[in-house]
């Protein structure tokens, strides 16, 4: 029985999970939970996900929420398939964990504030908070300076191989670059820019973007 991923395919956190599955060549069924009509806050869905968020996955009888817990699970379960996403030693894994936490705690909240105010609200005809967006952009620039220093030393965030730490950044960064006009923040950061071009050109990510655009429900590798 295929893995089921519940959520909205355009949303950042479900994309993180789907990207991991595509990297690992794992087929899945995408089950739409229409967050635009608040389906994720209805009791039937909240039976599965007590915080009323997306994504949620079912792998046979095993169920899980929190996209970063989900990608860790699949990366471990399919450790022997596709790219090594978690490092091979305790030390390598710790670096992956470190940058995963940076993404979760420092990068993404800042990035989300920008995407929310410059894209998500305006496309619904609501005013975004420009002041908040600008403050977040300045913060993001400083965060990216730190990334630039790291990426001048290593090809990817946690070392010289692509790992979950890079993967979890991709969906929200795509929104920043393609929908919020923030590609220019990378212009004075050659290593971060090269990193973004590299990770966003990965065949698995491109396959996922095609899958999302197609509106299909079943992904087969």
């Amino acid at each position: 029985m295929a893995v089921k991923v519940y959520g909205k395919p355009q949303a950042v956190c479900p994309q993180r999970v789907m990207h991991c599955l595509v990297e690992k060549g794992v087929p899945f069924e995408f089950v739409l939970v229409d967050i635009d009509t608040m389906e994720h806050k209805r009791p039937e869905y909240m039976e599965k996900h007590p915080f009323g968020q997306v994504p949620f996955i079912a792998d046979g009888d095993f169920e899980l929420f929190e996209s970063r817990a989900i990608v860790r699970y699949f990366a471990s379960k399919y450790a022997d398939r596709g790219p090594n996403l978690l490092g091979r030693t305790a030390e390598e894994r710790a670096k992956v964990e470190q940058w995963l936490d940076v993404e979760a705690i420092t990068y993404s909240p800042c990035a989300f504030s920008i995407v929310f105010n410059l894209f998500l609200l305006p496309i619904r005809g609501l005013p975004g908070n420009k002041g908040e967006a600008v403050a977040s952009m300045e913060k993001l620039d400083k965060i990216l300076e730190v990334y630039e220093k790291q990426l001048a030393r290593t090809k990817y965030l946690a070392g010289d191989e692509f790992t979950l730490a890079d993967l979890t950044h991709i969906p929200v960064t795509r929104y920043l670059v393609e929908h919020c006009g923030l590609a220019y923040l990378l212009d004075d950061k050659p290593h971060a820019k090269a990193w973004w071009e590299d990770v966003s050109s990965r065949p698995a990510w491109k396959k996922l973007m095609s899958f999302v655009a197609s509106g299909a429900s079943f992904y087969a590798p």
Binding site: L64, F65, Y73, T106, V146
Partner: protein, 242 residues
């Protein structure tokens, strides 16, 4: 022996998270305090200088060693284990549990026989702590415990707003803790441990009713806060730095 060092003051919630984990795992460590009021952790020298493999001398000259650590975001804790330097308290805790898997409490990332599934449940609730519990509780910790100490005015609106958000999260926990003894199952795990620092300060800051008014959350708090490892951390927080 003595290869593990934690940098930062024990009163910092993130530092205390790492200390609790080390104590659960019976891993011997050195604690090097950083005076955050003098903003040592944000000085340009502190942030820019890096060292690939620190010489053992550093352990004998703590002030010097702080300057030679690369802490790109200038936060605490910083952590060193021989040649490995890490930041981000939850990543450090996961590393300690992986690296010292055979020491102390062996169930922090799921029981040995529990496989991927148990670990994934721990990861799920550890993420819930980081993503849902941490933001409102951190604001409350600052407002209730640190602002007064630092002579800063409290923001009553922020307190009310974040109490409301935290109450919703604790309602979810209340339902989960009816089904299982701890968040991820019937054994104490890293997911529970991660909640200790902020919860402690919120209760000490006068908002213990958030916990005591929820029967299963109250029961859970009693159990996790009475663990000897956490009692020792609280003692360390009370002890003035040497």
């Amino acid at each position: 022996m003595g290869s593990v060092t934690v940098y930062g003051p024990p009163i910092s919630p993130a530092v205390s998270r790492v200390l609790a984990c080390l104590l659960e795992k019976d891993v011997v460590f050195n604690l090097v305090n950083i005076d955050m009021s003098k903003a040592q952790h944000k000085s340009p020298d502190f942030l820019k200088i890096q060292v690939a493999s620190p010489p053992p001398l550093l352990l004998f000259f703590p002030t010097v060693s702080i300057l030679l650590l690369n802490l790109p975001f200038g936060q605490v804790p910083a952590f060193q284990d021989e040649h490995t330097t890490l930041f981000e308290s939850r990543a450090i805790c996961r590393y300690i549990c992986d690296k010292y898997a055979d020491r102390g409490n062996r169930s922090l990332l799921g029981r040995r026989g529990g496989g991927l599934v148990e670990r994934a449940h721990v990861e799920q609730w550890l993420e819930a702590e980081g993503q849902s519990f941490n933001p409102p509780s951190s604001t409350l910790v600052f407002q209730l415990a640190f602002a007064p100490q630092m002579g800063l005015p409290q923001d009553p609106a922020a307190i009310v707003l974040n109490e409301g958000k935290l109450a919703k999260v604790l309602d979810v926990y209340e339902r989960q803790l009816q089904e299982s003894r701890f968040l991820a199952g019937d054994e104490f795990s890293l997911a529970d441990l991660s909640h200790l620092p902020n919860s402690h300060y919120i209760r000490a800051g006068g908002k213990e009713e958030l916990f005591t008014s929820r029967k299963h959350v109250a029961r859970w708090w009693e159990e996790i806060s009475m663990r000897p490892s956490w009692q020792k951390v609280v003692e360390m927080q009370r002890t003035p730095p040497a």
